[in-house]
Symmetry: none
Subunit: 302 residues, 2 copies
DNA sequence: ACTTCTTACGTCATTCGTAAACATC
DNA sequence: GATGTTTACGAATGACGTAAGAAGT
């Protein structure tokens, strides 16, 4: 079968009908065009062009080949370009999912910066619930997810943190902890912890005894919830406690919920997450914009 | 833009979803497939395949690219093949070389059948000498060669046998064997064998000891000859013996030569040979006609 | 432990440009 | 003789296979 340079030499010469112009368009020498065409003709078995040093014309078989090849090859080129654009390009649409309200303001700044840099790419923001966020990525409903780290899945890549905030524990306002000024990780052993995806970082747990606190107290888990509102409802009902970030205090302040800071928990990190196989130009450009927006504010801690 | 080998590697892998099978189909190593795909993915910017050492699957962008490329590339291939068929198709002229007189009658029947089927294609018959027959093919002086099998060249394809005839040994009429009613392959060790291309089938020889008979007797070779007349001259002069087909008895009967049948040699096969890269429509059509002509007679044995 | 994909490296084929020859007007 | 195509030849890119390595079942 034909090599790329052979097809392109043929198609270009069939258009230009001039070896010199063809060579110029392809950025090669005329000698090369001549040899390439000759090789093609050896393959096909008959001349594709009739040529004197004054005029080049297509033979009947050459004309037929051009008619067949030209649209087909254009389609090949278009397909590849479409793939490159999908993978590397920064246009079309980028669907960004976000969990909760915490990263909201941040996200708006990132969208603004990204939109200024890449006006030809629309951004669609969609709220997703914690429990379904990863499926949404995998299903291709969103290309990028802004959520809290870490998500320990082999096919998902985490970007750099956009927001780093102290941990707090959400408890019912009638809970004994509600009057504390701070709690410890060890206190988690003293009530049920409600379960929601991404609620408890893996490194809080001993890998060999995931149900123990760092000092070895047994931890018990309560009911599982899919959305943050469900969690708050269960907390309010006294069904358990739930570790959150400081931002919850601002966006989810409720009289029936108290947020008590941890004095010894590592901070909670929020940032971009995407399928490793879908690290497209759009995704990279948006995470870059988000990163830059955060740096402009003074970093993810601020 | 993509090179041919890149497109084919991608399309094949997208079909096979297995690097090993892909490499086999493309006649390259798996390492090459891996590198080619990786290069493609660098170009597109995202993975096209998701792979572990156990499973290979298309990513969404890979699937899209396959859907775009597959039909387009098939059209390119079809266009080129159509041109090749038009160019080297069954019209114009076909030059057929033949070795010796043995296949002469057969060839005439084949030409007659072919001419009836493809009146727009002229057939030029040329006698070629054994020693030069393959060069004539390679030089493009003939497109098809009717000679005796096997010719063990990597770039040459053998068609199905047109004529299968018992082996005989050509000896001088003064040779002791001349009075025998038959000879054995083992008798070859008792005189020098004259050398000519395609005289001794490979399967007569032990691959690890090609100068031994099946039972292990040493075989010695005499002078080399380029044409059959040269061989007969040397045989007549008592310089050695030479294995031939039964037809030699008919077309090359001479008082100074005796042809003694082998009682234990595999038969000699005659048939069409062509450059694998030049299996043109004309060549295929002619070999088909020759095959059909032989079948009409009752097969190659008759 | 085995299969399968990836990486590293040396070798070789093929494309490339330069330059001169050739053909046509 | 001017313009334009073909042939010849040395240089360099890059595609290839081998072999060792990594990863997953």
């Amino acid at each position: 079968m034909l090599e790329r340079h052979e097809i392109e030499a043929f198609l270009t010469l069939a258009e230009e009908l001039h070896f010199g112009h063809t060579a110029e368009r392809l950025h090669v020498t005329t000698a090369r065009v001549s040899q390439t065409i000759k090789k093609l003709e050896r393959l096909v078995g008959v001349p594709l062009f009739e040529r004197t040093s004054r005029r080049v014309t297509l033979t009947p078989i050459g004309r037929k080949l051009h008619e067949d090849l030209q649209p087909a090859y254009a389609q090949v080129v278009a397909g590849v370009e479409s793939a490159i654009n999908a993978g590397r390009g920064i246009s079309g649409m980028l669907r960004v999912g976000f969990v909760g309200a915490a990263a909201g303001q941040l996200l708006l700044e990132a969208v603004g910066l990204f939109g200024g840099r890449h006006p030809e790419c629309r951004v669609l923001l969609r709220e997703v619930q914690t429990g379904e966020s990863v499926q949404r990525l995998r299903a291709g409903e969103i290309e990028l997810l802004i959520a809290c780290f870490p998500i320990d899945e082999p096919d998902i890549t985490m970007g750099s943190a956009l927001l780093v905030e102290p941990r707090m524990l959400a408890v019912s306002s009638r809970h004994p902890f509600a009057r504390r000024t701070s709690v410890s990780v060890e206190d988690l052993a003293r009530d049920k912890i409600l379960r929601a995806p991404c609620s408890i970082p893996e490194h809080w747990r001993d890998p060999e005894a995931p149900s123990l606190t760092p000092e070895g107290r047994p931890v018990t888990y309560g009911q599982a919830a899919e959305t943050f509102q469900e969690v708050l409802m269960l907390v309010s009902a006294g069904q358990g406690v739930f570790p959150v970030g400081e931002q919850a205090n601002r966006y989810y302040a409720r009289p029936d919920i108290a947020y008590v800071p941890f004095r010894d928990a590592p901070p909670l990190e929020w940032g971009p997450l995407w399928l490793t196989t879908s690290a497209t130009g759009r995704v990279r450009a948006f995470t870059q914009a988000a990163h830059d927006a955060v740096q402009a504010r003074g970093g993810p801690q601020a």
